[in-house]
Amino acid sequence: MVISQVEYARRVQAGRGQFYRIAYCYVKNTQDALDIVSEAIYKGLSSLHQLKQADYFDTWMTRIVINAALTHLRKAVNQPANKGELPEDIRVDEAALSVEASLDLYEALELLEPSERSLVILHYFEDRPFREMAEILDLPEPTVKSRLYRVLKKLKAQLSA
């Protein structure tokens, strides 16, 4: 184990606000968010042996929280895990991913599928670099950008309608 249980406890306490906010974005209510965080911490503790390096803790734990949120939502709505084939990546210029300051993406989360929300939260709310997002979501970097671009297009289309 690269970090002890004691160290794990210390780190999750230190990061609890951030984990809570991420969870909250998926469910937009306190009790569900607390449930998700609680579940995620338990899962992290159970799979602590899978953490390869102490430096990876943040991305590793963030992934666990996101997955806990997605699982929570799947249970609630009875959705199947896989939604079928996704379109191919397109090359995206990062400039194409900028948004106007007035576009309320927090509100717009409601319009998105849970997995799409992950992209918005990590990029626009937490300012994570694409490399980190790729780690957290277990996707290649180009795929992250491509999907983010599609999400943004979808939102802009829906919000201007």
């Binding site: 249980q5 004691v6 794990y8 406890a9 210390r10 999750v12 306490q13 609890r16 606000g17 809570y20 906010r21 909250y24 974005c25 306190t30 009790q31 607390l34 449930d35 965080v37 609680s38 579940e39 911490i41 338990y42 503790l45 159970s46 900028s98 948004v99 106007e100 300051a101 007035s102 576009l103 309320d104 993406l105 927090y106 509100e107 717009a108 918005v120 939260i121 626009y124 709310f125 937490e126 300012d127």
Partner: protein, 282 residues
């Protein structure tokens, strides 16, 4: 880059409960462990819990709780639950506590009915009160609690309100309790764990005359419910309505005067005192 969405995200309020919930989640493990309260060998675990807890040493415990369904809240004092009708109550002991389940008449799982948890000393006890109960398997409930090391005594309370049920659980020294409410299925899990022993401080209270468990006890409790009345069973086996606890005799006397002004002297309340864990003889 900043935008409205990001600001709103950063402004998501963090509930006070979060620290406690995180500490508790750190305590869960995939295996249930039976930990007797006099075994203190797991030093690493205790260190973890003390650091995790970061709140109060009272939560430093290695008791493992089988957590079912989705945890809604955990409390040591307070209330929760949903408005339900015609709920049936059963209970069974777990390794460290009691799991209370709720069913509808048809036998399906029910949500947790409205409940309240109160704590008092002299003797140190938990009072659990449930509302909207059609029928309760009292035997399974009392048996489950009695089987635990942490429990010194457990008995039914008497209420006038139809559908109200409640029990008083008297705890032994060095024991603490928490109540966890779960949804889907609705359960209340009362968990007992090692706690720091209070210095056995003396506290004061008002108590009624002794009487059997029954209508008179229920009526008096109802009459004094706004004053925070609870029911205590004496060693002799009778019941008294108790108000308090008060820190000093003077506070108790003042409270008594206030109540007699409201209700008259016929209530027959007297000032008494006891140690934190003391069960009075009669």
């Amino acid at each position: 880059m900043t935008n409205i969405g990001k600001r709103r995200y950063e402004e998501i309020p963090i509930p006070d409960d979060l620290e406690w919930i995180v500490a508790r989640a750190c305590r869960r493990s995939s295996h249930r462990r039976i930990v007797k309260k006099w075994l203190t060998g797991f030093a690493a675990v205790f260190t973890l819990l003390l650091i995790c807890a970061n709140i109060t040493p009272l939560y430093a415990s290695a008791a493992e709780v089988p957590i079912l369904g989705q945890m809604v809240r955990v409390l040591r004092i307070g209330s929760g639950g949903h408005a339900t009708d015609d709920v049936f109550v059963t209970a069974k002991a777990t390794t460290t506590g009691v799991e209370i389940s709720f069913h509808t008449k048809g036998g399906k799982d029910s949500q947790v009915p409205v409940y309240s948890v109160t704590r008092r000393t002299a003797p140190f006890r938990m009072i659990l009160r449930l509302h909207g109960i059609e029928s309760m398997d009292t035997e399974s409930l009392l048996t489950a609690f009695s089987s635990l090391d942490a429990v010194a005594d457990v008995y039914l309370n008497a209420y006038t309100t139809a559908g109200d049920q409640g029990i008083t659980v008297v705890l032994n020294r060095d024991c603490e309790f928490s109540v966890e409410e779960n949804d889907s299925p609705g359960t209340l899990v009362v968990d007992f764990y090692d706690g720091e022993s209070d210095q056995n401080a003396t506290s004061y209270f008002l108590r009624s005359e002794a009487m059997p468990l029954g209508e008179e006890l229920a009526d008096l409790t109802q009459q004094l419910s706004w004053e925070g009345a609870t029911q205590v069973k004496t060693a002799a086996g009778e019941y008294r309505v108790v108000l308090g606890n008060y820190r000093t005799e003077e506070q108790a006397r003042e409270a008594k005067a206030g109540i007699e002004e409201k209700f008259g002297k016929s209530l027959g309340l007297s000032v008494a005192h006891g140690g934190t864990y003391e069960i009075l003889e009669n």
